[in-house]
Assembly symmetry: C2
């Protein structure tokens, strides 16, 4: 009997999916479940983006685009970097992809030689290690904790870099912690990786969803860095599956070959819809929603601390709180299951983000109205009482 | 300086893209170019599919779907297999993907162990060998020609199979030839691969676009075969990027893990739009268009033979004619360039589909109105006169 390739033994499912499946079962039985596990904004796609999609669909001519994307969308993103960050990123270095997932595919398919080691953080976005593994690279975890605000330091890099290390993939703001690297830290990391002849990839998909000021882009630290971005989070277009990859010039041709062969092109309706993402009225709406996310964070963090969780990170962005639950349990997975079964509150256990401290942490997503978050906190308080 | 992974040296660009870029330049200069190179239907998305998309977009709730796709779309595809082929394929074995490209990604990421050999045809769809290579498998070409109607035979398999061979990936109807495997041939190939403990993958993306009767599905030859399908060709939804993969039961869980990690999910608007793809009024429209494609083929094949090309394959499906141009040139790439520059006719040189006989073949796509095809033929006739 044929069997799956060896890599499959190293590719984990999302454990939260198991909890989500159970949550759906309970809902089907009539239970009210408060969802604080979902990693996508709860807001609908902004109306100007929907209007652009509807207009594009009028004549039904929904054909392939060039492999790297609609030229006008690549230009619009270039303009966004100029306007928001004051940085020149030529459209020729921007590839439009099916979500950040497509961007990670292109980056790792291009860069990950078999056996090459890639430094990631633990905890971190779980798919990152699987993208590395899918292309036969070797993901190497850097355990990060509250002492470094759950971000890697130069010292971490020095300790984990060896002759097999090809590069590093970090996120700012990060999932599940919402913590950021500041401009100096980014530059320091970029400098170190450059000195070691390595390749740096930075995930910036939560840019725009930051609540103590804007996040600096790694692109300011050099044009030799791959940057992964998305229309899913700040632009709130999850289901459209659209993102982009900023490519260092020497790799543009190779990334284009990969995009031609692996994707043909990204969704055409999504690309035309996204042309409206940078309009002033869209940005104004997104900024209102950013304010709403900030209010939720500012409510939820102290509310969780009041019932026994500890937020040891500085959650400056994304829509997550990574909470230390060690005062309440030493088994975060069982704890999450108990919250769901007994309190009807769905959260994500630490195991979904790695192994380091996983059993003593859970992730709360504030992708739900504040009243629902408050109801969730109250239910947990009663359960723990 | 960091460099691309070694696999990039083996991943070729689409050569036709170079010609297409030149065609666009010529058009920008005011030249009229007849496009017979494009591998996508020229028809707009059927109106019922557009209407379903517009209705779905009303409230803007465009969120992720489950990783394997909308349950109701998976059920609809299962129903399509039951109705059109009389075959039971449970929805649980169907994964919705971003085009057939996404299905090929899942299949090869799941199956291709590093160093494992995969048998493909030459000529064939060029991306296939790159999907194998991307996941560190080794693509092995079976040269196929007119004697076997450009399809592999059991004898070919016997001659190319060795202890490193893990499986085979073939297409019926095939690109660039439009030739098919009949039910007995499919069963014979499936039987051989099964005996050798290998895995068979069949690309059926041109099903529905066949002109001498329907194509048999490989699923009739066993439930242990991966089948790649697409909404792009028969359903004419190229730019939506939607397809599916039929998965043998033992691999469903691994494919689901890969889909969760590599994609999150396929385009949600596209999935809701595709729910209308199986409605009787959509099918009626698609069958009209199938008749139009047949008329184009029946016009174009003899018209090309009348001016010196030879159609040695039996083009029963897809929208391509693979033409032997050896009576006209021994350099099909230069010939294609000359046709573009001097006659304003864009076609695809054989090199895009492999090496076997590439310099003596070109591909004509009949994805253009018959009057335009006739104009193209007349221009070529005058150039060759």
């Amino acid at each position: 009997m044929p069997v799956s390739a060896p890599r499959l033994a190293d590719i984990a499912p999302f454990h939260v999916m198991e909890l989500l499946g159970r949550a759906r079962e309970l809902e089907a039985q009539g239970r009210d479940i408060i969802h604080m596990e979902v990693g996508e904004p709860d807001f609908p796609t902004p109306e100007p983006i929907l209007a652009a999609a509807r207009e594009f669909l009028q004549d039904g001519r929904v054909f392939y685009t060039p492999a790297l994307g609609l030229p006008e969308l690549r230009e619009a993103i270039s303009g966004f970097y100029r306007q928001r960050y004051g940085i020149a990123v030529p459209a020729s270095r921007i590839a439009i992809t099916a979500g950040a997932s497509g961007a990670l595919t292109l980056a790792l398919a291009c860069l990950a030689a078999p056996g090459s080691e890639w430094l990631l953080t633990d905890p971190g976005y779980p798919c990152n290690r699987h993208f590395v593994r899918a292309f036969e690279g070797v993901p190497v975890s850097i355990p990060v904790g509250a002492a470094s605000n759950f971000q890697p330091t130069r010292l971490d890099l020095e300790q984990h870099w060896n002759e097999r290390t090809a590069g590093a993939l970090f996120a700012s703001p990060a999932n599940p912690t919402g913590t950021m690297l500041d401009a100096a830290e980014l530059a320091d990391i970029a400098d170190f990786v450059r000195q070691r002849q390595g390749q740096l990839i930075i995930d910036e998909i939560y840019h725009g969803l930051t609540y103590n000021g804007d996040a600096p882009t790694a692109l300011a630290a050099g044009d030799d860095i791959f940057v992964v971005q998305s229309f899913s989070k700040y632009f709130q277009m999850t289901g459209w599956r659209l993102g982009w990859l900023v490519i260092p010039e020497p790799f543009v041709r190779d990334v284009e070959k990969l995009a031609q062969n692996l994707f043909i092109s990204a969704s055409t309706p999504a690309q035309h819809a996204a042309l409206a993402a940078f309009q002033p009225e869209t940005i104004a709406l997104l900024e209102q929603r950013r304010t709403e996310f900030k209010a939720r964070r500012d409510y939820l963090a102290p509310a969780l601390e009041a019932i026994g969780f500890r937020i040891t990170a500085q959650p400056e962005g994304a829509f997550y709180l990574y909470a230390d639950c060690s005062a309440l349990t030493d088994d975060s997975f069982g704890f999450a299951r108990r919250l769901l079964e007994e309190a009807g509150v769905a959260i994500t256990p630490g195991i979904d983000f790695g192994n380091h401290g996983a059993s003593s942490h859970v992730r709360f997503a504030y992708t739900n109205a504040q009243a629902r978050l408050a109801e969730g906190v109250e239910r947990i308080r009663q359960l723990l009482a």
